[in-house]
């Protein structure tokens, strides 16, 4: 494996700063009460800074991956002289456009272990960050409409169980019990034969995760620079030296690309080609109605996934658009197909109104797995290629990337996802579980 061959600078290269007294006010019900009584203003969640001329680590992209990496660098490793740069506002890319589904019911043992670690981090994230990210472990159902997908569900369930992840195959009656609005009759065009039920899966409030990490990183001394576009990456003698931004040049021995949607363009600035093609992924949301759908429902056959937020809206997604594009406009056809498929599953919700549609960009790799770790340019690291499954991996990716930066060693959990695998023929292959399985 490619681990450890090219590395971040040695450990001594960083100034490790002891944890400072927290600058932030703790959030709590009592705090809300006292702030409310005293009409006191809450302190800023993160602060503005002048851009310094150098940092120990520069992270490109203030989405969940970049912010989590920064947070864990500071919180777990004491590396605080870190800048997170974003060309627009924090959490405005894929991190604010996804449908916020969290699950670990993947197919390969590597995938299951990796995402299970992420689920566990999400489980304690609110407490760790002192920011309620509203992780709602309401259960995740992947429907099977033919014996082939039922077999795949059983395969995933068996692998999950062996990896200690709670998943099981259930029958149509149990599906009906969990989702009373579902049409499980045999008369539908694609009858529901069963489902993979994954109780720990669920949804999270994605903005809260971004903001929670940003607030946590800021409290540890990390600088977050919004509206700071990276225009160039300086490489000398095979080593990264720093970046050129719309607000001036900055030097750093380590630069981490945590972007999505434009990751191949950012990597190209450092002369690192990526085997990525970028596809739009569309999503949509309805008006709120009273709670009737308490689990996440996914149907690969019908290309749809749906969940209901605590506010009462249904959030929908589908598969990526079939053509590469950087356009983030929604299409009419998407909403038509989506509605048709949802009504196949739940015919009684035809009177619910679609309120808004949008699109995000997905960096697809040939094996539907991310690219994490070192590149041919020393000190230039990547955490990219997150396709349609990036948000659910934010915490674990940040934790692992921080460990790589701090120790110079690729953690085992991400060793399989190195960039070199494409040149050496070691594809990972989560195609089956990732295709529509959000």
């Amino acid at each position: 494996m490619g681990s450890g061959r090219r590395t971040a600078p040695p450990r001594s290269g960083f100034r490790r700063q002891p944890r400072r007294g927290s600058r932030r006010a703790r959030y709590s019900a009592l705090g809300l009460l006292t702030h409310g009584l005293a009409h006191r203003q809450w302190p800023r969640v993160w602060h503005d800074h002048d851009l310094a001329s150098s940092y120990d680590v520069i992270i490109i992209g203030a989405g969940v991956h970049g912010l989590a990496t920064a947070y864990y660098l500071a919180a777990n490793h004491g590396i605080r002289n870190v800048a997170v740069l974003d060309r627009a506002y924090l959490g405005g890319g894929g991190s604010g456009r996804n449908t916020a589904i969290i699950r670990a019911n993947y197919l390969t043992p590597e995938g299951v272990r990796f995402y299970d670690r992420s689920v566990r981090l999400y489980e304690t994230l609110a407490a760790d960050l002192n920011f309620n990210v509203m992780f709602s472990q309401r259960g995740h159902l992947t429907l099977a409409h033919d014996d082939g997908s039922l077999r795949t569900m059983r395969w995933r369930a068996e692998v999950n169980k062996l990896e200690g992840v709670d998943s099981e195959v259930i029958g149509p009656d149990e599906v009906k019990r969990l989702v009373p609005v579902m049409d499980v009759s045999a008369e539908t065009r694609y009858p529901i034969l069963g489902a993979l039920y994954h109780p720990p899966g669920g949804t999270v409030r994605h903005d809260a995760v971004n903001w929670g990490y940003a607030r946590g990183a800021d409290a540890h001394g990390v600088q977050i620079h919004e509206n700071t576009e990276v225009l160039g990456i300086d490489v000398e003698g095979g080593r990264v030296r720093g970046v050129r931004t719309s607000r001036g040049d900055v030097s750093a021995p380590v630069v981490v690309n945590c972007t999505a949607g434009w990751s191949s363009l950012v990597c190209a600035l450092a002369g690192v080609p990526l085997p990525i093609s970028t596809h739009p992924l569309q999503a949509a949301v309805t008006e709120p109605v009273k709670m009737f759908l308490k689990t996440v429902v996914v149907s690969g056959t019908l290309h749809v996934y749906v969940s209901q937020t605590d506010r009462g809206e249904l959030v929908f997604g589908a598969s990526t658009d079939p053509y590469p594009s950087y356009s983030m406009r929604g299409s009419l056809e998407f909403t038509e197909e989506l509605a048709g498929h949802v009504l196949e599953l739940m015919p009684s919700i035809a009177k619910l109104r679609l309120l808004r549609q949008w699109a995000g960009l997905c960096d697809m790799t040939p094996d539907f797995s991310p690219i994490m770790g070192v590149t041919p340019v020393d000190g230039f690291l990547v955490d990219v290629g997150w396709g349609t499954y990036g948000f659910k991996a934010g915490p674990v990716a940040g934790e692992a990337m921080a460990e790589l930066v701090a120790t110079g060693r690729t953690p085992d959990l991400i060793a399989a996802f190195d960039l070199a695998r494409f040149a050496e023929g070691r594809l990972v292959g989560e195609k089956g579980a990732a295709a529509v399985g959000h």
Partner: protein, 934 residues
């Protein structure tokens, strides 16, 4: 309650109601009677109803604000339909209308307690609490969920009838006010086919609530529009504008059709959406009885409803002055007119459950039950935005106005552009309409010039007064929430929107966006112009899922023999697009028929592609891993296709029917994908190759005749083909006549492991040939078999099924196809990966497996394990074999465990473990293939 209603006025010149038609309905269980032409709101307001709902977060009482579709406080449940816009929906007899968001009643609402603690429920409060203990979060969450706004869906609702329509108008005009009617008229008079779309129930826009002159102009315009042959869609809304003027229109209120989605490819789109009146932000601005000037004008003039008894009006424009005149005419006492143009202001609205008075800027109080504000406008630029325009804020006019940054096929007309008298708006519309027609190719190029744009008249910039009030009525977001969010750091338009949820509600910012930006500008010391607006996303108005879905077309494919299958008790199997016979009652018996006599199976769904041209061998060499150059006429060959990553994607048999003519078969499930794959390859990678691909899957009915007596049976029906083993050996193809049907193909191949023939007959004769085979084979014991028997037969024989015995990771070598892959061949799809795969060797090997206890059939997808939980393989296929009387399997095991005779451990779904033996061959019966070659 009476039919007239205590607040109903005498006849008004522009009223829409029919006083002769009474419509009974219920509101929260109480009987009411409205009039035809009423909206739900106007009927209730005529009966004196003031409180229509409770707000989402603080459960504050809410009443009429805009009296239009986007009225935020009057969303109700009508029968089984949630979230009905009561200020837009026409009343119908027998409606059951109920409140949303109030329990147990509008008057006594438990959620009102939230008002008392409102100080602590600031925007985003939920991010700051319920953090610990974590185990209690699900309980907190279910409480939060209970406060979700919106109505209730009924599980018993039926899908209903929804329709779609395609339209190709030359000019589509969005908005049927004075400018829109003018535009439609001018475009139609230039010869263009025009579609005019109006959101409300009738054309006219603001002319409808004008005086005598406006009403005269309106009837003149309506007559002209009708005479000009314009297609008018009322109660319809242009929901989205997509690339190349692909325009979606939602049409409502059609008889029998609940909603219709009209999809229009439009040459020129004219956006004449007018203006939306903007609320003012001040304390108490959401109390029932606080209304916009246009709401008053609608209620009085369109529905003859007196909106209150004693009014205070804050006016900054002529529309506000006109509202004052309307109120006086309606007999409402106007206690005070506060003229913002003279710097006058109100401080706050007073009252708990409804407005009871107003505190003016000087501290004096005026009692009233109606407070009217007319303080400015929002430009609904949504459609222009979707076409690429980024409107600019015009501080003098106190509203956003479009720029010229639009494609030539999109134009703006009327109030959305600037101000004017009704006549000026009509004239501007006419000019733009003529230009639109010109751009669509009518009336000559000179007409394509746009009229001079309307300018924005100066208007005081009023957004928030001296007190804090609601900015987003549907989401319960106050100006204080926005200020504190900005101070906390959520200080860009996008962040403040996401944090406070302002503008995220049902009206999607039409009422709220500009005020949100204004308060944010105040908080950050910047200006509205600097902050700009957020991106408006489609749809402009919400659309039901039913309308988007339309009638759901999910095509089903049946073979020509389906009627026979159904008549003979076939159990249906959904196989993608196809419905197939799974079995006819006893699959084990069907297996024995094939092994001992002869069976026939309907395999019509098998993909069939006709390939012609001199370069077919090159194509076959590219897409299959094996070699095809030397395939002779009359021969067939088995081939495997891999994707670029070396993963097996399909398999099948391809035969050479003539020098330049081939027939390729694919798996049933892969038929469409393989066709796309071939076309993709030919059209993008090798366009110079001369190959024609024609899909024939449904043109031929396909039947497999399998079993030791199959030759005998087929010979009875075949003319012109010698079926003897010498003349027609294994892996050959012949064409001839079967049961009197010409142009049939026969392939001698054997998926079941028996002597067998796959015949493809023109589809129209499929049933005839099928019945002839059974009829002529009666004495041979011929019978039909289904997919399940075929799966058992092929498993006994050890033939793999792509996507069952292979998966998204299986490369050709992993599936034991070593003999097939010819790495010495010129490049082919997947070769590069397969070279690596070959060098490294396969981690896993596909093997035949037999459980030690032959009575146990481990379910497919069971994992093969070692130690506590290490996965070392899995079962891909398993069945009880009727031929062997024991269970048989295929599966993958680690290469080191693949030696014949090695024992592996299979974990069953219930956690129990069993032992299974690795067999020497994939085939559990006849590994040498003698039965095939007889």
């Amino acid at each position: 309650m009476t039919a007239t209603g205590g607040f109903r006025l005498p006849a008004q010149p522009g009223e829409l109601i029919d006083r002769s038609r009474l419509l009974p309905f219920t509101w929260n269980g109480q009987r009411h009677v409205g009039l035809a032409g009423d909206t739900i709101t106007s009927a209730l307001a005529a009966d004196g109803v003031r409180v229509f709902s409770r707000s989402f977060k603080y459960h504050r009482p809410r009443g009429i604000l805009t009296a239009s579709y986007i009225d935020p406080g009057v969303t109700v449940q009508v029968d089984d339909e949630p979230n009905v816009r009561a200020s837009h929906r026409r009343l119908a007899a027998g409606m059951t209308v109920t409140r949303q968001n109030a329990w147990p009643s509008l008057r006594y609402d438990v959620g009102t307690a939230n008002q008392l603690v409102g100080r602590f429920l600031t925007a985003g409060f939920y991010y700051k609490t319920f953090i610990k203990p974590q185990r209690l979060w699900p309980a907190y969450e279910s409480v939060l969920q209970r406060f979700a706004s919106g109505g209730r869906l009924s599980g018993d609702s039926v899908h209903g009838y929804y329709d779609k329509r395609y339209a190709h108008p030359d000019v589509l005009v969005a908005g049927g006010g004075p400018a829109g009617m003018g535009a439609a008229l001018a475009a139609a008079q230039a010869g263009a086919r025009v579609m005019l779309v109006e959101e409300e129930h009738e054309l006219g826009g603001s002319l409808r609530w004008g005086g005598v002159e406006e009403l005269a102009l309106l009837s003149e315009l309506r007559a002209a529009v009708a005479a000009a042959g314009v297609e008018v869609l009322v109660d319809s809304v242009v929901a989205g504008r997509y690339d190349d003027n692909w325009v979606s229109v939602l049409q409502r209120g059609l008889p029998e059709v609940q909603e219709r989605l009209v999809k229009a490819r439009v040459k020129t789109l004219v956006v004449a959406a007018g203006l939306i009146e903007r609320p003012f932000v001040f304390s108490g601005n959401d109390l029932p009885g606080v209304m916009l000037g246009t709401a008053v004008r609608r209620l009085v003039n369109l529905y003859a409803v007196r909106p209150g008894t004693r009014a205070v009006v804050l006016s900054a424009n002529p529309e506000g002055d006109a509202a004052v005149a309307d109120l006086r005419r309606a007999g409402v006492e106007v206690a005070a007119v506060v003229d913002a143009r003279r710097g006058e202001d109100i401080h706050r609205a007073l009252g708990k459950r409804e407005v009871t008075g107003v505190e003016l800027a000087d501290g004096s109080r005026v009692d009233c039950d109606l407070l009217v504000t007319s303080i400015g406008w929002t430009t609904p630029t949504s459609l222009l935005n979707m076409a690429g325009d980024r409107p600019r804020f015009d501080a003098a006019a106190a509203r956003f106005r479009p720029t010229d940054d639009l494609p030539a096929s999109v134009l703006a007309a009327g109030g959305i552009v600037g101000d004017g008298t009704p006549e000026e708006l009509v004239a501007h519309g006419r000019g733009v309409g003529a230009a639109a027609a010109g751009r669509a190719g009518f009336g000559g190029p000179s007409l394509a010039d746009l009229p001079p744009p309307l300018t924005g008249r100066p208007h005081p910039g009023l957004f928030r007064g001296r007190t804090h009030g609601m900015v987003d009525f549907s989401e319960d977001v106050s100006s204080k929430d926005i200020l504190s969010a900005a101070r906390e750091g959520y200080d860009s338009a996008e962040l403040v929107k996401r944090y406070t949820t302002a503008t995220m509600g049902p009206s999607q910012g039409k009422l709220e966006t500009v005020n949100t930006i204004a308060v944010l500008a105040e908080a950050t010391g910047s200006t509205i112009a600097e902050l700009g607006t957020t991106v408006w996303r489609p749809p402009y108005a919400p659309i039901t899922l039913g309308a988007l879905a339309g009638r759901i077309f999910q095509p089903v494919r049946y073979s020509p023999m389906q009627a026979w299958h159904e008549a003979h008790g076939a159990q249906p199997l959904v196989a993608g697009m196809w419905i197939r016979p799974d079995h006819y009652g006893d699959p084990a018996a069907e297996v024995r028929t094939v092994r001992e006599r002869v069976g026939i199976i309907d395999v019509t769904p098998l993909g069939k592609l006709d390939l012609r041209g001199p370069d077919v061998p090159r194509l076959l060499n590219a897409v299959y891993v094996n070699k095809w150059s030397k395939l002779e006429v009359g021969s067939v060959r088995y081939g495997v296709m891999c994707a670029e990553d070396g993963v097996v994607m399909d398999d099948g048999v391809t035969g050479r029917l003539g020098p330049d003519r081939y027939l390729m078969s694919t798996t049933s499930s892969g038929a469409a994908a393989v066709w796309e794959h071939l076309e993709g390859w030919l059209q993008t990678e090798r366009p110079e190759w001369q190959v024609h691909v024609t899909p024939l899957t449904t043109s031929y009915a396909s039947i497999n005749i399998a079993g030791p007596r199959s030759r005998e049976l087929l010979a009875r029906l075949t003319e012109g083909v010698d079926l003897s083993a010498e003349a027609f050996p294994y892996m050959r193809v012949r064409a001839g006549r079967i049961a009197g049907v010409d142009d049939c193909f026969m392939w001698r191949i054997g998926f079941t492991g028996e002597l067998s023939y796959e015949i493809h007959v023109p589809a129209s004769f499929g049933l005839h040939v099928w019945e002839a085979l059974l009829d002529r084979g009666r004495d041979l014991g011929a019978a039909a078999f289904g997919v399940e028997a075929q799966r058992i037969l092929r498993l006994e024989k050890g033939h793999l099924i792509v996507a069952q015995d292979t998966d998204g990771l299986t490369k050709a070598f992993d599936a034991g196809l070593d003999a097939l892959v010819k790495l010495d061949k010129d490049d082919f799809i997947g070769r590069r990966e397969l070279v690596w795969s070959h060098e490294r060797g396969s981690a896993y090997t596909l093997v035949g497996l037999q459980p030690v206890d032959g009575s146990v059939v481990p379910p497919e997808a069971c994992q093969i394990v070692r130690g506590a939980n290490t996965i070392v393989g899995r079962i891909t296929s398993s069945r009880m074999s009727p031929t062997l009387g024991r269970s048989v399997c295929l599966g993958y095991v680690l290469a080191e465990l693949a030696g014949p005779g090695s024992l592996v451990t299979v974990q069953l779904p219930d956690g129990a473990r069993i032992q299974a033996t690795v067999m020497p061959h994939l085939a559990h019966i006849d590994p040498e293939g003698r039965r095939l070659r007889v």
